[in-house]
Each structure stands twice: as structure tokens, then as C-alpha cells.
């Protein structure tokens, strides 16, 4: 059986990284030598429990001495906000097309306009809601339904 190792480390650009390896590459060796790496035989418990898809990797703060991973919540909130903005932008694009399709239907146009405004306001709403998020679980549970239902709303 091949023995893979898991490295949580900081690269030359000061970015948090995760690497699965058998033999470490040059940059990783450098990080290990500078005590800028946590090397484990399996996936870190924190990652397994809180962030299995590594969505928040760039918010990780490593405690190399205790082999701990902490989270910069402000960075994590920005990651969620970025994701929501992207989904919001896709929704707005689709509603632009719907607006064009219903150009002569005044009622429909008003409804679309209303939903678009709600979508434009969404990042502020989400940002306010995140003030009561204290960990990654809380953040992962932020999903405004309008991001799924915008087409049903028009």
C-alpha cells in the first residue's frame, strides 16, 4: 500500500496550501525546513469535520507548533460572500434574458425588476446576516433561497 502524506503548509507567496504527497517537492521541503508545514498521515481532523471540500483553504491559519488549523473568520466570510455574489450574478444574467423575452408584458417586467432588486441587495443582506456566524458550520448554512427560486418568483 502506498503511504500518502498530507501537508498543510504555507508557500513562498504566504498562501495556505494543502498537498497530498509521497515525496515532497522543492517548495514543500523548504516549508518543512522552515517549520511552515503540518505533515500528517491522514486528513486533518478539522478539515474532515469542518471543511471536507477545502472551500475555506485560503482562510486557514496554521498553528505549526500544535499542528492545529484555525480559521480567519473575516476571510471565510469574504469567501462565502464571493460565492453568493457569483451565484447572484448568474441569476441576474438569466433574468436579463427573461426581461428581454417579456418585453411587452408589463406585469411580468415589474415582477422581474422586483426580483432583480432583491438580488442586487443580497450581498448586503448576507453580509449583515453573517454577523451571527461564528464558525464554518454557521457559514455553510447561509443560502438565501432566492438564489434557487428567482425564476419561480417572476
Amino acid at each position: 500500500m502506498i503511504n500518502y502524506k498530507h501537508a498543510y503548509w504555507i508557500n513562498r507567496n504566504s498562501e495556505p496550501c494543502y498537498t497530498v504527497f509521497i515525496t515532497p517537492h522543492e517548495q514543500l521541503i523548504e516549508a518543512i525546513n522552515n517549520n511552515n508545514a503540518i505533515i500528517l498521515d491522514e486528513i486533518h481532523d478539522f478539515v474532515k469535520k469542518s471543511d471536507p471540500n477545502l472551500n475555506f483553504l485560503s482562510a486557514y491559519v496554521f498553528d505549526f507548533e500544535n499542528k492545529n488549523i484555525l480559521i480567519n473568520m473575516e476571510v471565510a466570510k469574504q469567501i462565502v460572500l464571493g460565492y453568493i455574489r457569483n451565484r447572484r450574478n448568474e441569476a441576474l444574467k438569466e433574468l436579463d434574458a427573461e426581461q428581454f423575452r417579456f418585453m411587452v408584458n408589463q406585469d411580468k417586467l415589474l415582477k422581474i425588476d422586483n426580483v432583480k432588486q432583491q438580488l442586487r441587495d443580497l450581498p448586503i443582506q448576507v453580509s449583515n446576516s453573517m454577523s451571527s456566524c461564528f464558525n464554518l458550520v454557521d457559514l455553510n448554512h447561509i443560502l438565501p433561497p432566492i438564489l434557487l427560486s428567482y425564476k419561480e418568483m417572476i
Binding site: 448576507v126 454557521d138 448554512h141 447561509i142 443560502l143 432566492i146 434557487l148 427560486s149 425564476k151 419561480e152
Partner: protein, 190 residues
């Protein structure tokens, strides 16, 4: 609210959903298994409660189930409609899909608590002939209740707690085709 609240659902898309579902292929291998209803017996629950030290392992039904996941495309197509239906009732909540199952005849999900995800749940279920049920232990009175499904659609809300003294033990048995679509409703939007 410590119990299950149930009501009828009236939505124009439900018939369309069921008609489309009926065109999908169902693997009914479970039909050939011996009767599975004993997995939902009171005695099994009493044994599980005795093993309270293994509490963390009992949050999910894990392998203790015989069911099929609904076709992903079908769920993707109708998810926004179910979400919108709930969004109108819970305008300041995030609404996350938490389960989409098809219990064929003799399908079941054994006793579990879901205590790892302690939020309000809404399950919308469709029972082909009503010969299926949701069974739970009332966390306040400790009474075990069999809540039979309607023929057609039934909507249930219940709160999942992660406090050991308020665990919401529940299970499902179905002697017919039963669809179940569940959402976590988390009041976290301002």
C-alpha cells in the same frame, strides 16, 4: 414546538412532479427482502436508547435503511419549486435540501436522531396508497407515535434537537412507493 406538525400541501407543481417521477425507472430489488418493518419496532428503539454512549453513531441511520435516492435530474428540476414554496412561509431562513428518497414497497429508514444537524425540518412526502408511516418518539412525553401518511402528499415539520434529553428519535417504514423530500430550515437571514 416539540412535536410533529403536519398539514396538506396544495401546490400546482406536485401533480407534474409525480407524473414525471412515474416515468423514471425504479429498482425494486428491495421487494425480495424479508419484511423490514421490525427495524422500526419499539424494542429496537429501546435498545438503541440504552446504548446512549454510542450516541454519536446514532445520529444518522447510516446503513440501517433500504431505500433509493431520487433521480438527481428530477430533484434539480423541481428543487427551486419546493424551495419557493417554503421560502414564502420562512422568508428569513436559508432552505437547504437535506434528503430526497424513494422508499419502495418494504423500504425503511431505521431509528435515528439527526442530532448532528439540529434545525427545523420540513419533509414533504408522497405515498402511493397511504400504507406507509413516519414514526417518532415525542421528546417531551416519550410516547412513541405512528404518524400514518396521507394517500398522496403529506407535509410535516419537526424540530431536531442536539440536546441528549430532547433527542427526536424517528424512523420510516413504507409498504408502498413513498417519496420523501426534506429541507433544513435555518433562520439565519436578517
Amino acid at each position: 414546538m416539540s412535536e410533529v406538525i403536519r398539514s396538506n400541501i396544495e401546490c400546482d407543481f406536485l401533480d407534474e412532479f409525480i407524473n414525471e417521477f412515474k416515468t423514471t425507472k425504479i429498482n425494486n430489488d428491495i421487494l425480495t427482502h424479508p419484511n423490514n418493518e421490525h427495524h422500526c419496532s419499539d424494542d429496537i428503539l429501546f435498545d438503541l436508547i440504552k446504548k446512549s454512549k454510542e450516541f454519536e453513531n446514532l445520529q444518522k441511520a447510516n446503513e440501517n435503511k433500504k431505500l433509493i435516492y431520487l433521480d438527481r435530474k428530477l430533484i434539480q428540476k423541481y428543487n427551486s419549486k419546493f424551495v419557493y414554496f417554503l421560502q414564502k412561509k420562512f422568508p428569513t431562513s436559508s432552505i437547504l435540501l437535506s434528503g430526497n428518497f424513494l422508499y419502495p414497497k418494504n423500504g425503511y429508514m431505521g431509528w435515528h436522531t439527526n442530532a448532528d444537524t439540529p434545525y427545523l425540518r420540513c419533509y414533504m412526502t408522497y405515498s402511493e396508497n397511504g400504507d406507509s408511516y413516519f414514526k417518532y418518539r415525542n421528546p417531551t412525553s416519550n410516547k412513541i407515535i405512528i404518524d400514518n401518511d396521507n394517500i398522496g402528499w403529506t407535509l410535516r415539520y419537526f424540530i431536531i434537537s442536539n440536546k441528549i434529553e430532547e433527542l427526536f428519535w424517528h424512523c420510516v417504514y413504507s409498504n408502498t412507493n413513498r417519496i420523501s423530500i426534506g429541507y433544513r430550515i435555518i433562520n439565519n437571514l436578517k
